[in-house]
C-alpha cells in the first residue's frame, strides 16, 4: 500500500497551494471549460502539473478500508440484510399504516402496510417522502431559548416550576395549540393535563380543514359524524368539488377502492362512471368521465339542482339558466337513480356545510347509506372558531402561557387573526416542532420534536383502526414527543414515550394476554378491535340554500399543495421537485386561471400579478390552466416560506397572507398586473416530442374493438438481433391507465428506492429532472374544457432497444430476462442512448447532483443501489436490486422458482390504485400475463 498514492486523492487542495487551483476544484465546471480554447486548457494543465508534480501516480492503489463488526452482535440483525418494522404516519388527523425498511439500524424506505385499512399496502407521495424529513439537515438539533442555544435541562428547570399548579393555578391563562389529535395515548395525556388545569383550553388547528364537513353532518343529522365511502361498490360517483382521489382524502384507500371498480379486464367487464363539479383541475377531475367546470361558489347551485331532481329539495320557482342547468342535473340524476344503492354523492371540504348536508340527504334518498356510505362518530372537532377565540384572547393579553405542539400557526393561521402579533402579547410561548419555523422564531422556547420515524406513539386511521407508531432509530437530535413533554411538565404517571404508549394499551387488554398482544400489534401494525362502530343516523330536514350571486371580481380558492401539503414539507426536496399532477409545476405555486379569464385580463403564463383580498395582497405568477373554471383563480397553499431550511426558503409565494377567516376556502379577490415576469419550471413541456403514446377509447368502443391499443406503426430494429425469451423468466410490467390517478406516489417511491437526486428549479427548467418514472399528462378536446389523461412513463425495457444499439462503450445491454441493463461504471456520457430513446426516459447526470449532501441525507440512501456521479446515464431498471435479491433468496431456499408477486418494484408496491403490476410474462398464470392480454 503506497502511502503517497492514498494522500494524493484525498487532499488535492492540500497538495496544491495555488488558490486558482483550489478555486477550480470547488467549481463544477471551471470558467475556461465554457470557452475551451487551447490557451486556457494549457493553463489548467500547467497548474495541475505544477501542483502535483505528477510523481505519486505510479503506485496509486486503493485506500485502506476497515471492516467494523458490532462488538456485541445481535441475533436478528445481519449486516446487509434489511429489517422491516411496522409503524404509522399521522397526517391531518388520519394515520397511514406503514412498513418501513431499515438498513443497519436506520430507516431507508417506506411502504404501505397491507394489513392496514387505510392503505392496503400502498401509500401516498407524502408518506414516501417523509423519510427525507427525518434526515433533514435543517432539523432542530437542540432546545432554543430566545434564539440562544439551550438544553432540555434548562428548559425543565424553568418549566417545571412554571407549570406547577401553585404557579399556574387552574390554568386560566394557559392554552395549548396543536394539530389535529387522533392519538389515543396523547388523548389520555391531554385529559390528564386538562384535569390538572381545569380552566386551560386545548385548541386544534390545521390549515387544511374539515370544519365544513363536520358542520354539514351536524346540519344533516344533528351530530358530528364521519362518512366513509365504499367506492368499490359504487357504479356512479358524483363529486361536488371533492378531490377524493387526491388531496381531499387523507388516506389512499379511496384510490384503491375506486380503481377496483374502474378496471376493465375484458369486454365483459363494466366500469364505474365519475361526475365531478369543480373549479381547479384536480386528479379526480382528470379521472372523471364528465367534468363540469364551475366556480367553487357555483357548486352549491349544482348540488341544489341535483337535490331537486332527486326529491331531496322541493322544486324551485325560479332558477337561473334553468335550461342548461336543468338538463345537466337531470342527466346526472337519471344516472344516479339507475344506480340506487350503488352510487355515491360526495362533497368536498371547501364546500359549505349546506352542500355536505345535501350530499348526505341525497345518499339517503338513493338508498346508498349502509351500502356505499356508512357513518361513524367523528373524533374531530371544529377548529377555526376555536382558533379565532384563542387569537382574540391572546391579542387581548389574557393568555400568559401558550404551548404550541407541532404546527406553524404564525405562517398558516388566517391572516386576519394576526397570530404572530398576538403571540408577542403572550408572556411565555413554547413551541415544539421537528424543524424551526416561522412560529419558532417568535416563541420564547423552541423544543426539538422527535420525528414520527424516531418516536413512540400511536395514531388512528379515519375508520378508527389504531396502530402503534414505533421508532426505527433513536431520536437523532434528542427530540421528544408532545406526549413526553406534557408528561414531564404535568407529572403524568409515565414519563418516557415508550411507557406512555405501552402502558396505555397494556391497560386495555387482560393482563394475561397483554404482553403477547403488545408484540402482535407491533408486528402486525394494527391493533385489532379498535375500529369505530358504525352508526345509523336518521337524516333531518334539508337545509336552505341561497342561490349563488354573481361574483364581485374573481373568485379566489385555496387548495393544499400536492407537493408540500400545507407547507410542512417545504424543505423536502423530493416533494418540491415532484411535479404537480396537472400543471407539472415544480418548486413553485402559481395563480391558475382559465384560458378565457387570461384572455379577458390580458395575462400570459409567467406574468407576475398581485392578488388582493380586502387590503392584503401577495404576488403570484400566472399559469394558464386548460379546463379551469372561468372567473376564478386557484392557488396552492404552503409556499413562500421564510424559515424552513435550505431547500424550501423563499420557494413560491405565500398564499396564507391573503387567506382570512371570511374567505377560508374561497372568496372574491382582485388582481393587478405588475408587468414583471416570473420564471416557472414545469416538467411536462419537454417530453411529449410531438408524440402521444396514449390511446383512449370509450367502453362501447372497447367492447367492439378490444385490441384498439395494440396497433403500432413501423418496425423496431436492433443491431443485436432478437433474443430468445421463451425460457426462464421474462420480466414485464403492465400499467393500467384506467386505474392510474396521477398521484405521483410512484415517482417519489422510485426516488426513495433508487437514490435519485433532486436537481433544483433551474435544472428542471432545462428539462434535467431525474425522475425514472414520470407521469405525463395529456389533454384532449377544446382548450377551455379538455379531458385529461395521465400516463406513467418509465423505461419500457424495449426488446429491440434503440439505446443499446448506439452505446459506444457497451454500458447498456439486454439481459436474458428481458431487462435493459445499465452498467453505470462503463458509461462515459455520450448521451447517444438518450437521444435514441423514443420515450425520453433516460436521465443523465449533467452535474454532480449529490455534491454537498450532508451526512444525515446520505443516511437516506438505499445501499442496494449505486449512487450515480456526474456524467453517468441512469434509468428505470424495474428495481433490478429487488429482482436480484429475490432471485438469490430463491436460490438459497433450494433453488425454487420465484413466485408471482414476490418481486414488486417500488412503484408497483406503492401505487394506491394498484395500477402497476410486475411479473413474469412467460408464466401464463401470473397477474402481469393476464393483464397484458
Amino acid at each position: 500500500m503506497n502511502q503517497t498514492g492514498k494522500q494524493y486523492w484525498r487532499s488535492l487542495e492540500q497538495l496544491s497551494n495555488t488558490p486558482q487551483f483550489s478555486e477550480w476544484l470547488h467549481r463544477e465546471f471551471p470558467e475556461s471549460a465554457a470557452v475551451l480554447d487551447s490557451s486556457s486548457r494549457r493553463t489548467m494543465l500547467k497548474l495541475m502539473a505544477a501542483s502535483f508534480g505528477l510523481a505519486g501516480l505510479t503506485a496509486c492503489s486503493r485506500p485502506v478500508e476497515k471492516i467494523l463488526p458490532a462488538a456485541k452482535g445481535s441475533e436478528e440483525y445481519t449486516p446487509g440484510k434489511p429489517v422491516f418494522y411496522s409503524t404509522v404516519m399521522p397526517l391531518n388527523g388520519a394515520a397511514t399504516g406503514l412498513i418501513v425498511e431499515t438498513h443497519e439500524g436506520r430507516p431507508t424506505k417506506i411502504e404501505g402496510n397491507p394489513e392496514h385499512s387505510s392503505s392496503g399496502g400502498a401509500c401516498s407521495a407524502f408518506a414516501q417522502a417523509s423519510i427525507l424529513d427525518l434526515y433533514d439537515p435543517d432539523r432542530a438539533r437542540f432546545v432554543t431559548h430566545e434564539t440562544r442555544q439551550s438544553s432540555w435541562d434548562e428548559f425543565f428547570a424553568f418549566a417545571k416550576p412554571h407549570f406547577d399548579p401553585t404557579q399556574m393555578g387552574a390554568g386560566e391563562g394557559l392554552r395549548f395549540l396543536s394539530q389535529t389529535v387522533n392519538s389515543p395515548s396523547l388523548d389520555a395525556v391531554r385529559e390528564h393535563v386538562l384535569r390538572r388545569y381545569p380552566k386551560a383550553r386545548w385548541v386544534e388547528y390545521e390549515p387544511v380543514s374539515r370544519d365544513e364537513e363536520l358542520a354539514g353532518s351536524e346540519l344533516a343529522f344533528g351530530r358530528r359524524l364521519q362518512a366513509h365511502y365504499r367506492f368499490d361498490r359504487a357504479d356512479v360517483v358524483v363529486s361536488l368539488d371533492a378531490d377524493f382521489l387526491g388531496l381531499d382524502s387523507p388516506e389512499v384507500r379511496y384510490s384503491r377502492d375506486f380503481s377496483r371498480r374502474r378496471r376493465v379486464a375484458s369486454e365483459k367487464d363494466s366500469m364505474n362512471r365519475l361526475y365531478i363539479a369543480e373549479s381547479q383541475y384536480s386528479v379526480t377531475g382528470a379521472m372523471a368521465d364528465h367534468r363540469f367546470r364551475m366556480r367553487a361558489a357555483e357548486v352549491p347551485d349544482f348540488a341544489a339542482d341535483l337535490a331537486r331532481e332527486l326529491g331531496v329539495l322541493p322544486p324551485a320557482l325560479t332558477v337561473l339558466n334553468a335550461n342548461s342547468r336543468g338538463k345537466r342535473a337531470a342527466a346526472v340524476a337519471r344516472d344516479l337513480k339507475r344506480s340506487r344503492e350503488r352510487s355515491i354523492v360526495i362533497a368536498g371540504p371547501r364546500q359549505p356545510a349546506e352542500v355536505h348536508a345535501l350530499a348526505h340527504l341525497m345518499n339517503y334518498a338513493l338508498g346508498n347509506v349502509g351500502r356505499t356510505v356508512v357513518y361513524t362518530e367523528s373524533p374531530f372537532v371544529p377548529q377555526l372558531t376555536a382558533l379565532k377565540e384563542l387569537a382574540e384572547e391572546m391579542a387581548a393579553g389574557k393568555i400568559s402561557t401558550l404551548v404550541i405542539l407541532g404546527g406553524n400557526p404564525v405562517y398558516d393561521a388566517p391572516a386576519d387573526l394576526e397570530f404572530g402579533a398576538a403571540m408577542k402579547k403572550v408572556a411565555v410561548t413554547i413551541h415544539l416542532s421537528v424543524s424551526q419555523n416561522e412560529t419558532s422564531a417568535l416563541a420564547k422556547w423552541h423544543l426539538p420534536e422527535a420525528h414520527y420515524l424516531e418516536a413512540w406513539g400511536d395514531a388512528r386511521a379515519l375508520d378508527g383502526t389504531a396502530s402503534i407508531q414505533q421508532p426505527m432509530i433513536r431520536p437523532l437530535y434528542g427530540g421528544k414527543t408532545a406526549a413526553e413533554v406534557l408528561a414531564a411538565l404535568t407529572g403524568y404517571k409515565d414519563q418516557r414515550a415508550y411507557d406512555i404508549v405501552r402502558n396505555y394499551w397494556m391497560a386495555k387488554w387482560p393482563a394475561r394476554d397483554a404482553e403477547s398482544m403488545w408484540r402482535r400489534c407491533l408486528h402486525d401494525g394494527v391493533i385489532p378491535g379498535t375500529q369505530y362502530p358504525l352508526v345509523e343516523p336518521k337524516p333531518g330536514k334539508a337545509p336552505e340554500l341561497r342561490p349563488s350571486e354573481a361574483p364581485a371580481g374573481l373568485e379566489l380558492a385555496f387548495y393544499p399543495s400536492a407537493s408540500v401539503w400545507d407547507g410542512r414539507f417545504a424543505n423536502n426536496g423530493w416533494l418540491q421537485e415532484t411535479p404537480e399532477p396537472m400543471t407539472k409545476l415544480t418548486w413553485d405555486n402559481a395563480a391558475l386561471v382559465s384560458p378565457a379569464t387570461a384572455r379577458e385580463f390580458g395575462l400570459a403564463t409567467g406574468d407576475l400579478i398581485n392578488i388582493e383580498v380586502q387590503g392584503r395582497q401577495v404576488p403570484m405568477p400566472v399559469w394558464i390552466q386548460p379546463g379551469h373554471a372561468d372567473g376564478a383563480i386557484s392557488v396552492a397553499l404552503g409556499y413562500g416560506r421564510t424559515r424552513c431550511g435550505r431547500v424550501g426558503d423563499n420557494v413560491g409565494h405565500n398564499a396564507y397572507r391573503i387567506r382570512t377567516t371570511a374567505n377560508f376556502h374561497f372568496g372574491s379577490a382582485s388582481i393587478q398586473k405588475t408587468g414583471r415576469k416570473y420564471r416557472l419550471a414545469s416538467a411536462q413541456e419537454h417530453f411529449a416530442e410531438g408524440r402521444a403514446p396514449v390511446r383512449e377509447a370509450t367502453l362501447e368502443e372497447y367492447r367492439k374493438e378490444p385490441h384498439f391499443a395494440a396497433e403500432h406503426k413501423g418496425e423496431a430494429f436492433s443491431i443485436f438481433g432478437d433474443f430468445d425469451y421463451s425460457k426462464g423468466y421474462q420480466w414485464g410490467m403492465v400499467i393500467d391507465l384506467n386505474a392510474c390517478i396521477g398521484c405521483n406516489a410512484c415517482t417519489v417511491a422510485c426516488q426513495a428506492e433508487n437514490n435519485i437526486p433532486i436537481v433544483g428549479k433551474d435544472q428542471v427548467a432545462r428539462g434535467r429532472e431525474m425522475h425514472w418514472i414520470r407521469l405525463d399528462r395529456y389533454y384532449t378536446g377544446p382548450e377551455d374544457d379538455p379531458q385529461a389523461v395521465t400516463q406513467p412513463m418509465n423505461c419500457q425495457q424495449c426488446e429491440r432497444a434503440p439505446c443499446e444499439s448506439v452505446c459506444p462503450v457497451g454500458a447498456t445491454s439486454h439481459s436474458p430476462e428481458g431487462l435493459n441493463d445499465m452498467a453505470y461504471n462503463r458509461c462515459v456520457g455520450t448521451r447517444y442512448c438518450a437521444n435514441n430513446c423514443p420515450f425520453k426516459v433516460r436521465r443523465f447526470n449533467f452535474l454532480n447532483y449529490h455534491k454537498g449532501l450532508t451526512e444525515t441525507e446520505k443516511m437516506a440512501f438505499n445501499p442496494d443501489v449505486t449512487v450515480r456521479m456526474r456524467g453517468v446515464m441512469e434509468k428505470c431498471t424495474y428495481c433490478v436490486q429487488r429482482i436480484e435479491e429475490k432471485r438469490i433468496q430463491a436460490k438459497l431456499e433450494g433453488r425454487r422458482p420465484i413466485r408471482d408477486g414476490e418481486i414488486t418494484p417500488a412503484c408497483a408496491q406503492t401505487c394506491p390504485a394498484e395500477a402497476i403490476v410486475f411479473g413474469n410474462i412467460n408464466d401464463p398464470n401470473s397477474r402481469v400475463a393476464k393483464r397484458k392480454n
Binding site: E65, K66, K72, S813, S815, T866, K891
Partner: protein
C-alpha cells in the same frame, strides 16, 4: 467472550479481541478482499452453489496473515461465470480447503450444475445494480 476466555486467554495476539470485548468498540479489521462499490457481490449465492472458499481466497487456512491471491478482476469473475463447472463442488465440501476431487473436477461440476440448476448470471445486472 465465549471461546477466548478459555482458549489462549493470555496470548498477546488476542489482545484486540479482549480489548473489544471490554470496551465495546469493534476490532478495526483491515479489508483485504475488496471490490468496488458499484459491484454487488453476494457470498451466500456462491457458497450455496458450491464454490469453495479456496477458489477465490486461496489457502487461507495456511496463511499467517491473509493476503489476496486471486486478481478478483471482472474478467476473472466472468470467466468463471461463463464456465463454472471446474469450480463447483458438493456444498458440504466448500469449507474443506484441501479437498481433492475424485476424478475430473469439471465432470463433477457439470453434474452438480445440472442437478442443482446452477446458472450464474452473465449479464450486467447480475452484479451491477
Amino acid at each position: 467472550m465465549n471461546c477466548h476466555k478459555m482458549v489462549k486467554p493470555d496470548s498477546p495476539l488476542l489482545q484486540p479481541v479482549r480489548e473489544s470485548y471490554a470496551s465495546g468498540r469493534p476490532i478495526p479489521w483491515v479489508r483485504v478482499h475488496s471490490l468496488p462499490d458499484y459491484v454487488y457481490f453476494n457470498h451466500a449465492a456462491h457458497v450455496n452453489a458450491g464454490v469453495s472458499c479456496v477458489t477465490c481466497h486461496g489457502r487461507v487456512d495456511q496463511m499467517v496473515q491473509v493476503r489476496q491471491v486471486e486478481p478478483l478482476t471482472m474478467k476473472w469473475c466472468v470467466d468463471c461465470h461463463r464456465d463454472p463447472a471446474p469450480h463447483i463442488r458438493p456444498r458440504e465440501l466448500v469449507t474443506k480447503l484441501d479437498w481433492q476431487p475424485d476424478g475430473d473436477p469439471a465432470e463433477i461440476g457439470r453434474r452438480l450444475m445440472a442437478e442443482n440448476n446452477i446458472h450464474p448470471p452473465e449479464n450486467c445486472s447480475g452484479c451491477h445494480r
